[in-house]
């Protein structure tokens, strides 16, 4: 891996960190940050699927329940995303996925089931938007 690629990847992680820190109004606790992080991973996977199918389909979209999310659904998504990316041999996002899993998604507090579904759905959709936008901005891998 070249130095340029290393720098690029670390800047993407800091981009995610900055994004999470900037939006403390919505992402006010670890659980909502974890939901958003899962959304970012989902956004990346969806864009990868779209690119692979020449912008025609995103099979993973069918598992997102029209973006009406709760903690249980969110919790189940991350392992599936890792599997899918592995299946596609997509290593370009490994660092981001690793960061999201270890630093954000692992902090999901299962006891916060009182969080309104609307807030969870919004945090997740915002994550997808950020994931999608990050890949668009970097011009894909």
């Amino acid at each position: 891996m070249s130095l340029h690629e290393e720098v690029d990847k670390s800047s993407r992680i800091s981009q995610i960190k900055d994004f999470m820190e900037a939006h403390k109004g919505l992402l006010r606790d670890d659980t909502l940050r974890a939901v958003c992080a899962t959304g970012i991973a989902t956004g990346i996977l969806l864009e990868v699927q779209r690119e692979r199918s020449k912008r025609e389909s995103m099979p993973f979209w069918g598992r997102l329940n029209r973006l009406e999310m709760d903690l249980e659904r969110v919790r189940q998504l991350f392992p599936q995303i890792i599997n899918k990316l592995h299946e596609y041999s997509e290593a370009g996002y490994h660092d981001i996925i690793a960061y999201l899993g270890s630093e954000e998604i692992s902090r999901l507090d299962w006891s916060r089931r009182d969080l309104p579904k609307d807030v969870i759905s919004l945090a997740f959709a915002v994550g997808i938007a950020q994931g999608y936008w990050m890949i668009q901005a970097s011009g894909g891998e």
Binding site: R50, M58, E68, S121, L122, A129, Q130, Y132, W133
Partner: protein, 513 residues
């Protein structure tokens, strides 16, 4: 509130804020152009001499005033809406259809009926306004007769004139041609006087009854003896004095006594209304800058009359200076925040002494299909400092990543975008316009302005529903756009709310210590 509007009116009268009393008494339309019927008037007759399309030079020239009875106007000049059965668009369609040869007999009859309807309601209709029926001016009588006798020719001329123009709202008025030159209605003193006296007069039919019943009534504004509680015209656009309104005891005899006014305060209210409409009327547009369903008046409340005068002077001066003025920037920015998604770059100069006594009341309203003003709610106790604070929060939110890069900024149109139900269609759509969300938008804005806790669950629910609606399309770009807009709105609300709570805590702490 009413007293505050009247005080504004009195002060603007004193300062000559409006060029003439007529300016305060006419109604404003959205018409950019006017169809002018040229009438030559000689000693014994009036003759129609053709039509002209001109730019709107101000409603006071045409003596335009809405007639609440459904007629086009109160005093010859009438309004032609863009849409509707007697609208410009329908007239254009009917005229073009009738000129075409390939039209069925049924459609031809329908279009003929549309033209006849327009002629009756809009052309002959302008001669039947309430203001004309009550005047005994012979010239006016001759003009009206000429219009009625030539209604068919006028119709043809109107159709030819508007045939190829882009549909828009228009005014239809009369220009008088005589040996002394060409004059609009408002430029002829006797017509202007007749209009003025009609608008400010007390209802004739009520005079006798009122003489007995209103003795001892006091004007609610100045507390002097009230002339009457029933003027011919409404003092405020949302108050209808031809309908009974009951005070708490519900005595029918007192049904019309809830709003007694004296003549002087009636005129003050008209001036006050004009002043508010000129400087302090705000509309929440759509993101694209389209039609505004919810608007509000921001009425300054200053109990001291001298302060009102100073306030009006400063506000007019700053408006005259235009963009260079740094005073009242918060009002200009608030207007931008309501109508556009612009960024804020400059801020006001330091607050002056006047502000210590100044609060605003926001009066939220909508306009119904007939264009009448319908009140939604009101919020009292809005401080200029809090308005500035709201703008500061907007600037802060706009600076967050990645809003600049993705081109998202906060503005009240965002709030409208999410609160408006997703199943509503535009004008071409089949569904009826639902109005329940107006109240939600008004109450959310009211809470923001006053600094009360915002009903966040309502906002989150609206956002989630909008995102779910778009999720059906499975379009990542659209989902991304709407999610960033939602994030901007949520950040604004959360930051405004938390800063408010912090300020309240600090205030409590300071009081305690």
């Amino acid at each position: 509130l009413i007293t505050a509007i009247a005080q504004l009116g009195r002060a603007s009268r004193k300062l000559g804020e409006f060029s003439s009393e007529l300016e305060a008494l006419v109604d404003h339309s959205r018409a950019k152009h006017v169809l002018v019927l040229r009438i030559r008037v000689s000693e014994n007759q009036a003759k129609y001499e053709g039509i002209e399309l001109e730019e709107n030079k101000g409603e006071e020239k045409y003596l335009y005033r809405r007639d609440p009875s459904g007629k086009p106007g109160l005093f010859i000049t009438g309004r032609i809406p863009m849409l509707g059965d007697v609208g410009v668009l329908n007239l254009q369609r009917s005229f073009i259809n009738l000129s075409s040869r390939n039209i069925s007999a049924k459609d031809r009859n329908k279009d003929k009926q549309a033209l006849a309807n327009f002629e009756k309601k809009k052309v002959i209709g302008i001669t039947r306004g309430k203001g004309i029926r009550q005047t005994t001016n012979k010239t006016l009588d001759r003009i009206c007769k000429a219009l009625r006798n030539n209604s068919r020719t006028i119709m043809k001329d109107i159709c030819k004139t508007i045939k190829s123009m882009k549909p828009e709202e228009l005014l239809l008025t009369v220009k008088i041609l005589s040996d002394s030159g060409e004059k609009y209605l408002g430029e002829i003193p006797e017509f202007a006087d007749a209009f003025e006296s009609f608008v400010t007069q007390v209802k004739n039919v009520q005079k006798k009854r009122i003489a007995g019943e209103t003795s001892g009534l006091k004007c609610i504004i100045c507390n002097n003896e009230s002339v009457s509680n029933e003027f011919e015209e409404n003092p405020l656009p949302f108050f209808f004095i031809d309908k009974p309104g009951f005070i708490p005891e519900g005595d029918f005899d007192k049904a019309y006594k809830v709003f007694p006014l004296c003549s002087d305060c009636f005129v003050d209210l008209r001036y006050g209304r004009k002043f508010v409409e000129k400087y302090l009327d705000f509309s929440i547009s759509s993101i694209e800058g389209g039609r505004a369903e919810v608007s509000f008046w921001l009425i300054p409340v200053l109990n001291d009359y001298d302060s009102v005068i100073s306030y009006i002077k400063l506000l007019s001066e700053s408006a005259a200076e235009g963009k260079e003025s740094r005073r009242f920037l918060y009002l200009r920015h608030l207007k931008d925040m309501c109508e556009t998604m612009k960024t804020i770059s400059a801020f006001d100069t330091e607050p002056d002494a006047l502000e210590a006594f100044l609060t605003f009341t926001a009066l939220f309203y909508t306009r119904d299909r007939q264009g009448h003003m319908r009140l939604i709610s009101s919020s009292e106790g809005i401080y200029p400092r809090h308005l500035r604070f709201m703008l500061e929060v907007k600037r802060k939110v706009d600076s967050l990543i990645p809003f600049k890069k993705v081109g998202v900024r906060f503005g009240f149109p965002l709030l409208r975008e999410f609160l408006m139900p997703t199943d509503m269609k535009g004008r071409g759509g089949a569904r009826r316009r639902s109005e329940g969300w107006y109240k939600d938008l008004a109450s959310t804005l009211g809470d923001m302005f006053v600094g009360e806790p915002i009903k966040k669950s309502l906002i989150y629910k609206a956002i989630a529903s909008k995102i779910r609606e778009l999720a059906k399309e499975a379009d990542l770009k659209k989902i991304s756009d709407i999610s960033f807009k939602a994030l901007s709105l949520v950040e604004y609300i959360e930051q405004l709310d938390s800063s408010q709570s912090k300020r309240e805590m600090l205030y409590e702490f300071a009081r305690g210590s």
